[in-house]
């Protein structure tokens, strides 16, 4: 039921065409689009991250970059459209209707599908959030086009096709996937996988509005209430400047404390690799990697984590990766900047104490390094 079931080898049913033979009616599909996701007036940062990636694709293809903003009538939606120009959009397609105040699959699928069918983009990118994944699957199935989920890299080929790379086989290898003969080519990307582009105040850009064409009675699903998360209950892993994480090398659930203690001294967020969640040593909102959070901190310290691809793709955006592992052949040393071959259980307490001494306001040797 997934991309991973697809094997590169030819099956009995005959090989699909791997050559680009675009049907005549698809040749009108031009330009790169990014769906701008907002919830309760807040644009999700992943939309601006995608705008940066979309800009690079559009420049390579020499086409326009467009934002698709779907939301209620009023300021928030207009502001999101204006803001999209500051992150590189040339055009903003806006569907504004009070029926779109809350995300509902039916109304948003209708809105996005209609805009795509009317204005025909060649590439459509969405954030792989709960909203983006809910919407992307419905839209791709309605349009009967290809969708590559949770990409870690996007590029265009010599013939102008989108080359979407993502982990496969449970995160142990990477694969590059194409939608050669259908349009639009759709892809989702998880938050923090792409870097945030610099915001440039640039109030130019064309706004194109499109009607929703629904009345409330057309929408079966009703919102009874919305219970916002309290900030204190959420981990801020994805946006933390410093992250300390532990893996199976910690040996026992009690030793996970050592990770939390170092994180606490550094004012950092703590995280873990996937096996720790599966073993119940840590909760799933602390998981870092392809199926957990993607992080882009300035400093990432990985203690007792071997560094499987599924973890690697979640941390590669870090400025500085420090790996602590007893196994000198652990794959994490292939992408860490600084490595130390030692037992994390012994090093972590020493590291915590050394950092505590160094960072204390009374430390005298801090400046002299």
């Amino acid at each position: 039921m997934s991309e991973a079931t697809k094997k590169p080898a030819a099956p009995a049913s005959g090989r699909a065409s791997t050559k680009k033979e675009l049907a005549e009616h698809f040749k009108a599909y031009k330009h790169v689009w990014v769906f701008v996701e907002q919830e309760r007036g807040q644009v999700h940062p992943v939309s601006w991250e995608l705008m940066g990636a979309g800009r690079r694709l559009a420049d390579k293809l020499k086409v326009d970059l467009a934002a698709v903003v779907i939301g209620p009538e009023g300021d928030a939606t207009q502001r999101a459209a204006a803001e999209s120009f500051c992150y590189g959009a040339d055009i903003a397609y806006v569907v504004a209707d009070d029926l779109l105040t809350d995300y509902r699959n039916e109304s948003y699928t209708k809105a996005l599908t209609d805009v795509v069918n009317t204005f025909k983009p060649e590439i459509l990118l969405l954030g792989a959030t709960t909203l983006g994944r809910d919407l992307a699957g419905s839209v791709a199935t309605t349009l009967l086009t290809g969708l590559t989920a949770d990409c870690t890299d996007l590029d265009v080929d010599a013939d102008g096709s989108l080359a979407a790379t993502r982990p496969t086989f449970g995160g142990s290898l990477l694969c590059t996937i194409y939608t050669l003969n259908f349009r639009p080519q759709m892809a989702t990307v998880r938050p923090r996988v792409m870097s945030m582009p610099v915001r440039v105040a640039r109030p130019v850009g064309r706004v194109v509005t499109h009607p929703l064409g629904l009345v409330e009675d057309d929408i079966v699903t009703k919102i009874l209430s919305f219970l916002p998360d309290r900030d204190s209950t959420k981990s801020n892993l994805a946006y933390a400047d410093v992250v300390v994480a532990g893996g199976l090398g910690l040996g026992s659930p009690e030793n996970f404390q050592l990770v939390r203690q170092l994180a606490s001294v550094l004012g950092a967020e703590f995280g873990c690799s996937r096996p720790l969640v599966q073993k119940g040593w840590a909760s799933s909102d602390r998981q870092i990697g392809q199926t957990g959070k993607t992080i882009r901190p300035r400093l990432y310290i990985a203690a007792g984590i071997s560094g499987a691809i599924q973890h690697r793709v979640g941390v590669e955006g870090a400025d500085l990766i420090v790996a602590i592992n007893t196994d000198k052949n652990a794959p994490i040393f292939e992408f860490a900047h600084i490595g130390i071959i030692t037992d994390a259980i012994r090093l972590l307490p020493a590291l915590t104490e050394a950092f505590r001494a160094r960072l204390s306001p009374h430390s005298r040797d801090r400046i002299a390094s």
């Binding site: 009995a12 699957g137 290809g146 990477l174 699903t221 009874l224 199926t291 292939e334 900047h337």
Partner: protein, 281 residues
Amino acid sequence: MHIVVCIKQVPDSAQIRVHPVTNTIMRQGVPTIINPYDLFAIEAALALRDKQGGEVTILTMGPPSAEDSLRKALTYGADRAVLLTDRFFAGADTLATSYALAAAIRKIGETYGTPDIVFTGKQTIDGDTAQVGPGIAKRIGLLQLTYVAKIGDINLSAKTIEVERRSEGGVQVLRTKMPCLITMLEASNEIRRGDMASALRAARAEIVRWSAQDAGVEDISKCGLRGSPTIVKRVFAPTARAEKATMIDVAGGSPADALISAILKRQTNLEADLVALARGF
């Protein structure tokens, strides 16, 4: 009520190894399991059936060996299991998979009664796409509720259902109509231990096996690799970073101090920020 649960048999990813020299997957002997996220879907279906009455049908698409997962699902207490297996399904991407499963669900409806709810897990652990559930919903025209953490009131005569659905910034409480498709969030429940009677029944139960034709698939060209708009062109292992990691010598005096010096040398303006962070600014 009649509930269909779509599950997938997946390799136990914790046990997959990559060959250190050739970088190819070593699949031999990797045990298969029910996709762990699907267990939450199975439990949600069984709990609903226990409360409301009715039947639970488990459906999977896969090779003949996927029968193992169906039998396992029967031990939890599901009423029947359908295996959709045909060489035409091989190599399907999410769009082609949802086409085949939608056909089978329609056939299940004709044969055993129209389902009120179709459940899936939120995603699989091998594909991680979370797209097949929405694909099935769109193909059949079911209302779609993804990332459901809790199932609330169900009114069988009015055909309404209330759920709590996870969104990025909170929880949406929704009311919609059945038939609908629900993808269950992890940790939304805990799979039961099957009882002895279910285990005995599962061992003897006949798994319903359907080919593409049996399932009433209308257009074979929409199945499998041929029906997949996405094409995998390249599978590869990631390359090591060009620049080798700086290794800290542990033989020296204090490896912790050496490590900190190395970190601050690479990130010269980090220290002042760390001091601020550590103080909680």
